[in-house]
């Protein structure tokens, strides 16, 4: 058989078993493909890239790719990433977290990493459900949705993750779906090259568990839903509240500058040491 994607073959670990562990049509794979594509485009050396994940379906991503890869504990990826980046600032540190992982149990680390401005490119794969443990509510599950832990409907409101992280002080915040491939690529690239803490919320389909409350069966239907229920930041400005109801705003949501933690550390060491 003729070789398929030359690009991914350069980055996937041939020692791993493929196809990967994710369900047919799972959005995580689409994100992974994009991440590899952009890393290749930017041209990082594989040796300089560290991929850190928590626990969840999305947490299984790093094992497949030939970087320095770290599968940590549930919710804590950013804490490990912080240590790595501070101990060896030349590394390009990337975190991959699920919505339960990064925003439920790991929510505190997320807002503090944003505040602290450690230069980490962090991606939250928001499939609005706990995939790995079998489809329970996450903090991004829509109100009223029936899941395995909300059999009568989810009584809780969902976080607007991007808004929260923006309010916590992140220097870059973006949101996209895996359907929006151009935006996905653009946001990944911006996050990776941002000098500061960057977070991209990637809305991705969990076909096995999250399709239920949408009444959608197939991966393609879920992606069509992503397409039909998103509006870009630019477009959103032209729409009124009723038109925006139920829509997800995608695009660059914040992009600003301030010194990173590493830069501050250098300052401490050099200029300001004379107490």
């Amino acid at each position: 058989m003729r070789e398929t994607s030359h690009l991914v073959h350069k980055y996937l670990r041939p020692t791993m078993r493929f196809p990967h562990i994710w369900c047919p049509g799972c959005g995580i794979g689409i994100f992974m493909h994009a991440l590899i594509r952009i890393i290749d485009r930017i041209g990082y050396s594989k040796d300089d890239v560290v991929l850190v994940s928590g626990i969840g379906c999305s947490g299984r991503l790093p094992v497949y790719v030939d970087f320095n890869t770290l599968h940590t504990t549930h919710g804590r990826a950013l804490t490990f990433a912080t240590g790595i980046k501070l101990a060896k600032p030349r590394l390009k540190v990337i975190t991959i977290m699920g919505d339960g992982d990064g925003v439920s149990i790991g929510g505190n680390h997320l807002i503090h990493a944003a505040r602290r401005n450690v230069e980490i490119a962090s991606f939250i794969i928001n499939n609005q459900v706990y995939g790995m443990t079998g489809g329970q509510c996450s903090p991004t599950t829509p109100y009223g949705a029936r899941t395995t832990s909300s059999p009568y409907g989810n009584p809780e409101a969902a976080f607007d993750v991007s808004r929260l992280v923006e309010a916590a002080g992140a220097t870059f915040v973006g949101r996209t779906t895996v359907y929006h491939t151009t935006l996905l690529d653009r946001l990944i690239e911006k996050a990776l090259t941002k000098n500061g803490f960057a977070m991209v919320e990637v809305i991705a389909q969990c076909v096995t568990y999250a399709g239920r409350w949408l009444g959608l069966a197939s991966p393609a239907e879920m992606m069509a839903w992503q397409r039909d229920n998103s509006v870009t930041v630019e477009k959103a400005k032209e729409l009124n509240e009723t038109e925006l109801a139920g829509k997800t705003i995608i695009g660059v949501l914040a992009d600003r500058e301030r010194p990173t933690y590493n830069e501050e550390c250098t300052k401490l060491r050099t200029q300001e040491l004379k107490v």
């Binding site: 058989m1 003729r2 070789e3 398929t4 994607s5 030359h6 991914v8 996937l12 493929f18 196809p19 990967h20 994710w22 369900c23 047919p24 049509g25 799972c26 959005g27 995580i28 794979g29 689409i30 992974m32 493909h33 994009a34 594509r37 895996v178 359907y179 491939t181 076909v207 197939s218 991966p219 393609a220 992606m223 069509a224």
Partner: protein, 65 residues
């Protein structure tokens, strides 16, 4: 001339590539695997490749073609 290669060993028959090909180049075979129905129509936009969660589809210029 374009080439669209589908790597069955990795393909999980999710149907995404078929659903979103703007040119309707792909269709499912009887086992559910995508196959190229109408290569002529292919614009080489690579959307199928990009959206495949399993890296199972590759669009390329056919070197020999």
């Amino acid at each position: 001339m374009k080439r669209v290669d589908i790597y069955r060993g990795w393909c999980k028959r999710c149907g995404i590539c078929i659903a979103f090909c703007p040119k309707h180049v792909l269709e499912a075979d009887k086992d559910g695997f995508p196959t190229v129905k109408d290569l002529e129509q292919c614009s080489g936009c690579k959307l199928c490749e990009i959206r495949c969660p399993d890296f199972a589809i590759v669009v390329s210029k056919d070197e020999e073609g």
